[in-house]
């Protein structure tokens, strides 16, 4: 049994040497001594030839001494390296030998405090960095270290026999066995996942730095391309003329090529290229998913001899299709150029032609009258030329699949967007680059927030591309606002500012809004206690993050007679959640009842469709589907998917995101039953199931559709008291309009009471009230203004006595 304390003894000399002078200091000393030696040597030569040998002996002496000391430093450097890089090959998976024991980093961290490894970890350079990346504050760490706690000694760790024990292992051990340490992290809001993520990030980047520094390793030396490998293959002048640098299309660095998923895809591409015939690959993935990065990784492997033997030394040429079309005006010359390029590639024998967005290339050629499948078909089957083409799933399904035999010449390789944890790993490398550019510091939870927010709130693009773009935006915002540490809260703040959607932790103002959401909605809507309470509950659940993230923010089916506040409630939600009534997008569903309903809604290839257009232009809004019951069944089917997954595919095959919207479908279905229930003075809440059942039985909505909504809300007919409140609200709005015209309005209570009586209609809700106000009061005001009986600045007083019976009964 080998304990950690025993194993780190092997590093003692190097750590003691480091205590005397660090590696950085030794590096400086080495350079200084070499300069002294060079100057002394130059001085000696100058003295010998120009100063008749004056001081030459002393200069030679200085030269020898500095050379001796420089040599000593070189030996010390080699000695230090021997420990510093020990076990690195096994740790990076480059060697299967010696897969046990611990690393220099672990020894360096705990050497000076082997009786209390947690303290050693917290006080070490790397340990502190891990804790700061995790988002722990210094006060919490100091408090943790000063409080009485159980101490973990280096004897307690028995090293595994089949694994290198790195700093990651040490961090995990401390977290698992030191409850006070885990509590300290928990009190700082750091979860186990965040701590381990930060640990892997810091330690992983240290390992990569070490890997890059060790230039003499076979791993680094093999990155050089050998000379003369292409001499036994032919030239491709024409192709080179229309080639461009592959790096111009890359999304992120090739670091991601080390992930298991990327390695699997690289192997798939290589084995397809190694086929004897039809060795062509079609990479299908959304734009920004990293297709070209995989192609770059394959290219690098082919050039450095790491790929499959049969494709080593192959040369990739990325076709610049823009230049190709721009420089050819007529069909014939373009055809000749394309044929010439492929002919050259066949003769050269080692060319892999890369065509990005194959369907775009083919469509543009089609516009010039060239049918690419026919033109290049003979070359696709040739053994000496390979094509790697890329395209999006949408274009693949709508265009390429229709080309039948042409697509069968390619091996299809599907590239999925990386999952959230893989995206966070990609961001780790990107964040380190931008920390230098923007002089900022990312915590690990900020990276997690970037990934989550990009996935949830950024509608356009795919991961990791959109997460990287968001990272750059956030870093830039931090620089502008003078914030050096980028935390999770800062990320969500920037996302909220950018999208208008409340994201991340709930702020005090928002907490207030959510807790009193019903009251806020009541400022806009009269009555409907049960309905507004149900909406408030659902929205609170959505904002607390309890609801599934792959659905719209909220979805409601509002049932009830006309004029009871369904649309007003939708407007109120738009105001409260998205900041204004203009964030309400209304779709009249009665327009989607014919045979062309689906194509009108999601497009037909030629036109984009109403729903995708609204969602692309207003991704953060309330979508009001008015008179939903009047839409065709096929339209209901589309909403089954929208409500369930928050996304759907439009007619062009592109994914449309509805996850940042609140979807409200209003319907008068069951109104009569609701009115009857109320007129019989029965409690509506207890009969809601009965009402929904009757709607399902009537075949208006299918049960699976009703179940997809977060809530089905039943709006009650308004009582007389509520109608009076509605009338007051309407009169208030009228006061404002009249005031804007330069008059004061004053409507007496007796007049209002009579108008409410006349406007009250349980079947049609507040709408008759609106009409009565228009016909009686507005008409009177208009008469007074036109007749000149009131002047600007005057007060218009209206009471019951001002109206004749005929005027009140219009």
């Amino acid at each position: 049994m080998n304990t950690l304390r025993d194993d780190i003894q092997q590093y003692r000399p190097a750590i003691q040497l480091d205590a005397l002078a660090s590696r950085k200091t030794l590096h400086g000393v080495r350079i200084f001594l070499f300069l002294v030696f060079a100057c002394a040597g130059a001085g000696y030569l100058a003295s010998t030839y120009f100063l008749s040998g004056q001081y030459s002996q002393q200069l030679l002496g200085v030269g020898f001494v500095s050379l001796a000391l420089w040599l000593e430093q070189i030996l010390a450097f080699a000695y230090s390296n021997s420990f510093y890089f020990r076990k690195l090959n096994s740790l990076l998976g480059l060697s299967e030998k010696n897969k046990t024991g611990t690393t220099y980093d672990v020894a360096e961290v705990i050497w000076h405090n082997q009786e209390d490894m947690a303290e050693a970890f917290c006080n070490s350079e790397l340990g502190s960095l891990v804790l700061f990346r995790a988002g722990t504050n210094q006060t919490a760490i100091t408090e943790y270290l000063t409080n009485a706690r159980q101490q973990l000694t280096a004897d307690t760790i028995i090293l595994p026999e089949d694994e290198i024990f790195s700093l990651i292992g040490l961090g995990k051990h401390i977290f698992k066995h030191d409850t006070a340490f885990a509590n300290m992290l928990a009190h700082s809001g750091v979860t186990q996942e965040t701590f381990l993520g930060a640990l892997r990030w810091v330690v992983g980047s240290v390992h990569q730095e070490k890997r890059a520094a060790r230039w003499w390793s076979q791993d680094n030396l093999s990155r050089t391309k050998g000379i003369g490998r292409e001499w036994s293959y032919g030239y491709a002048y024409l192709l080179q003329k229309f080639a461009r640098d592959i790096r111009s299309s890359a999304v992120f660095s090739t670091l991601s090529a080390n992930t298991p998923y990327a390695l699997e895809k690289i192997a798939e591409i290589e084995s397809s290229l190694a086929r004897v015939k039809e060795a062509n690959v079609l990479l299908i993935g959304e734009a920004g998913v990293g297709k070209v990065d995989l192609v770059m990784a394959v290219q690098s492997r082919m050039q450095t001899g790491k790929s499959l033997a049969s494709i080593r030394g192959q040369q990739m040429i990325v076709l610049d299709t823009n230049r190709l079309f721009a420089t050819h005006q007529d069909r014939q010359s373009l055809e000749l150029t394309i044929l010439g390029m492929f002919e050259e590639a066949v003769l050269a024998g080692n060319i892999v032609i890369v065509i990005e967005n194959l369907s775009v290339f083919m469509r543009e050629a089609e516009n010039m009258g060239i049918f690419i499948p026919e033109l290049i078909d003979q070359y696709l089957a040739a053994p000496n030329v390979h094509i790697i083409a890329t395209d999006t799933p949408g274009s693949y399904h709508t265009y390429l699949e229709t080309k039948g035999g042409f697509v069968r010449r390619f091996t299809e390789v599907l590239i999925d967007a990386p999952d959230l944890s893989a995206t966070t790993r990609v961001l780790q490398a990107v964040a380190l680059q931008y920390e230098v550019t923007y002089e900022s510091f990312f915590t690990y939870s900020a990276l997690q927030a970037l990934t989550t927010a990009a996935d949830r709130y950024v509608v356009e693009g795919v991961l990791p591309d959109k997460a990287i773009a968001l990272l750059i935006d956030v870093a830039s915002a931090a620089k502008q606002q003078g914030s050096t540490i980028i935390t999770q809260d800062f990320v969500y703040k920037v996302v909220s500012e950018k999208t208008g959607v409340p994201a991340g932790p709930i702020s005090d103002n928002e907490r207030e809004t959510l807790l009193h959401l019903k009251d806020k909605l009541h400022q806009h809507v009269v009555g409907q206690e049960v309905a507004l309470s149900a909406i408030a509950r659902t929205m609170r659940r959505a904002r607390a993050g309890i609801q599934a993230p792959d659905k719209p923010l909220g979805s409601f089916l509002f049932l009830g007679p006309t004029g009871v506040g369904k649309t007003e409630t939708a407007k109120a939600l738009a105001t409260v959640f998205f900041g204004g009534e203009d964030k309400l997008e209304r779709i009249d569903m009665s327009e989607f009842s014919g045979g062309d309903a689906v194509s009108k809604l999601i497009g037909d290839g030629a036109s984009a469709g109403i729903l995708p257009t609204i969602l692309r232009e207003h991704p953060y809004s309330v979508i009001l589907l008015d008179e939903f019951e009047k839409a065709d069944q096929s339209v209901h089917d589309i909403f089954l998917q929208v409500l369930d997954e928050g996304v759907f595919t439009d007619s062009r095959g592109a994914k449309v995101n509805a996850r940042n919207t609140i979807i409200i479908a209003t319907s008068n279905a069951g109104s009569q039953l609701i009115l009857n229930t109320v007129s019989q003075r029965k409690e509506l809440a207890t009969l809601s199931a009965e009402i929904i059942d009757s709607i399902i039985k009537a075949g208006i909505y299918r049960p699976e559709l009703i179940n997809r909504f977060d809530s089905t809300i039943i709006f009650e007919p308004l009582s007389v008291g509520e109608q009076t409140e509605v009338a007051s609200l309407m009169i208030g709005a009228l006061y404002q309009r009249v005031k804007e015209r330069g008059y004061q309005l004053n409507v007496k209570e007796d007049l209002l009471t009579v108008l409410v009586e006349k406007g009250y209609n349980p079947e049609f809700g507040a709408r008759p009230m609106q009409r009565v106000l228009q016909d009686v009061i507005e008409e009177k005001i208009a008469q007074k203004i036109i007749s000149g009986t009131v002047q600007k600045g005057d007060s218009i007083k209206l009471e019951l006595a001002d109206f004749t019976e005929a005027e009140l009964n219009v």
Partner: protein, 129 residues
């Protein structure tokens, strides 16, 4: 005391583990030189035409085409062979140099502590005489 402890361990390392590590680096460098000069690939295609520059023989028998085919083929192979031979020669020389260089490094490494002391002694003597 600490210094002496380090020096003691250093000498143990210098004449044991370090020799193995130098061998490992030496092996890497020899592999690299062979890889850089593409010795295996060039040897395998030593007499191939230069960049596949060859003329087609023509579909029908024709003396002119045949002569052109033979001459271009021979010239292309000659050019290819000369250039490849040059690189193979340079590559093999470099590999041999690396092997011999490695032996020198070993000799130097073994003598390094003594060389260091000698240089230091000589330097101090020169400075103070």
């Amino acid at each position: 005391m600490l210094f002496l402890s380090i020096v003691h361990h250093y000498f143990l390392w210098h004449y044991s583990r370090a020799l193995g590590e130098i061998f490992s680096t030496w092996k890497n460098l020899i592999w690299f030189v062979g890889h850089f000069f593409s010795l295996r690939q060039l040897a395998a295609s030593w007499f191939s035409p230069w960049k596949r520059t060859i003329q087609s023989r023509g579909e029908k028998w024709n003396l002119e085409d045949l002569a052109g085919y033979i001459i271009v083929n021979i010239v292309s192979r000659l050019v290819g062979t000369v250039i490849r031979t040059t690189i193979i020669f340079l590559g093999v020389t470099s590999v041999l140099t690396t092997i011999i260089g490695g032996l020198f490094v070993y000799v130097f490494w073994i003598l390094a502590p003594f060389v260091l002391i000698a240089l230091l002694g000589l330097g101090i003597t020169l400075l103070f005489t």
